[in-house]
Structure formats: C-alpha cells, structure tokens
Symmetry: C3
Subunit: 90 residues, 3 copies
C-alpha cells in the first residue's frame, strides 16, 4: 500500500513541516573563508559568494564584481582580501 | 493505513535525516546583491540582510542600522554601498 | 506495513525533493547581528560567523581571525565592530 508525501502532509502539514525544517536547518551552517592577493583584486572560491572586502592602506572603498571578486578602489593598492561564504552542512 | 513522520523517523532517524538534510541543503544557496546610493546611507531590498558596507573617500568606518541600512560615518560622504544577502533556493 | 523514505523517493523523487526543499528553505533565514569593542578586536557570539568588520578612524584594513574575531589593523585603533551572521529558522 503506497503512502505519499501528501499522506504525511495531511497528517498535520504545518507541524510536520516545522519539525522537519527545524531538523534540517539544525544541520545548516554558514561556512566562510577569506582569500587575499597582492594588488587591487581578490577572488572567492567558485562555490562561495563574496560578502565583504578588506583593503590595504586603510582603504574602505571597494566593490564586488560578478559576485565573487573583490575590487579595492584606492590608488597603489598593495593588497586586497575577500570574505567569502556559502551554505554548508554541519 | 496511515504512515506518520514518526514511522519514517523510527526507520533510522539519523540516517534518514542526514540524507534528507543533505538533499535539501544541496538546494540552498547564499544569494547576495549590492546596492549603492549617493550620500551616507544605502538600503538592502526588504528580504535581504546587510552583511557589510563600502564607503566612498576610502572611508572604512560604517555601521548597519535596523539590519538593512548601511551608514558610512565619514564627513562629506560621497557614496555608500550595501552588500545584502539572503538564503536562496538553487 | 512500513513505508520508507525510499517509498516516498520512488514516488517522484525530484518533484518531492524540490517541493520539500522549497518548503524547508522558506523557513530558513540569514540571521545577523553586530558587536563592537574599543581597541582593535571585536568578537562574534559563539554560534555566528564573522562576515565583515568596520573600524574607527576611517580604517578599511582588517582581517578575520578564527572565523569569529575581527581585527582592525590601523595604529591607535579606537574601536572595532564585527558583523556576524548564521543560518536561522523563521
């Protein structure tokens, strides 16, 4: 006799879903790493997104290009660092 | 004959949950975007959280207000940019 | 009569998984907070990751140590602020 997801859902969908979501999200983690390069650019690993950039020479002006590349905008930029994050599984 | 989530859980909860969590978290992604405005403030779209700010004039002093608004603290601030992220579904 | 996750999976795994993932990820949220301290260091609460740092005196040069500690690199650093995020459940 088959039982379908709908059977489970009918059993009190919201309660089931809430408990399932909590159980799954308990295992979710925000996994971050930093990369640095000399010059004005630093790249995140492919499966990460850039969430912020740090720049040498106290420079606070930066932008993020194509979601993964930090660009520090000050002249004669000595180094650039990217902070990169993704959703991980504990 | 009904089958309950508890039936499934009793079937080897941890193994089931782990495989379910992996399958679901495989679909999760950290979705980010950037917004910029002239002046000292920049806002994230409503369903995003501000994770960092970038400021013109090399200014590295900023704060985040009400989780979505970047505020650059330097005088005569020419522009402010907010980096905004949320949990997305691939 | 037992029904297994495999029964459910056989019922059209991808469709089931997609709907389950969407339902679960709907409940996921990126939960962020900021902490500040005088001096050159600021720490995130234990279950958070540092995603960016802000520094006094317009300093834009910082690094993140052991995933949770912001370090502002400029001399005579008056304050340091950490932006900290984790995966939350709505």
């Amino acid at each position: 006799q088959q039982c379908s997801f709908q059977d489970l859902v009918r059993l009190g969908s919201d309660a089931l879903l809430k408990s399932l979501a909590s159980a799954v999200l308990e295992k979710a983690t925000l996994s971050c790493t930093s990369t640095s390069s000399s010059g004005s650019y630093a790249n995140c690993p492919s499966d990460y997104s850039a969430v912020s950039c740090s720049c040498g020479n106290a420079c606070g002006s930066w932008d993020i290009q194509s979601e993964k590349t930090c660009h520090c905008q000050c002249a004669n930029q000595d180094w650039t660092s990217a902070r990169c994050c993704k959703i991980g599984n504990k």
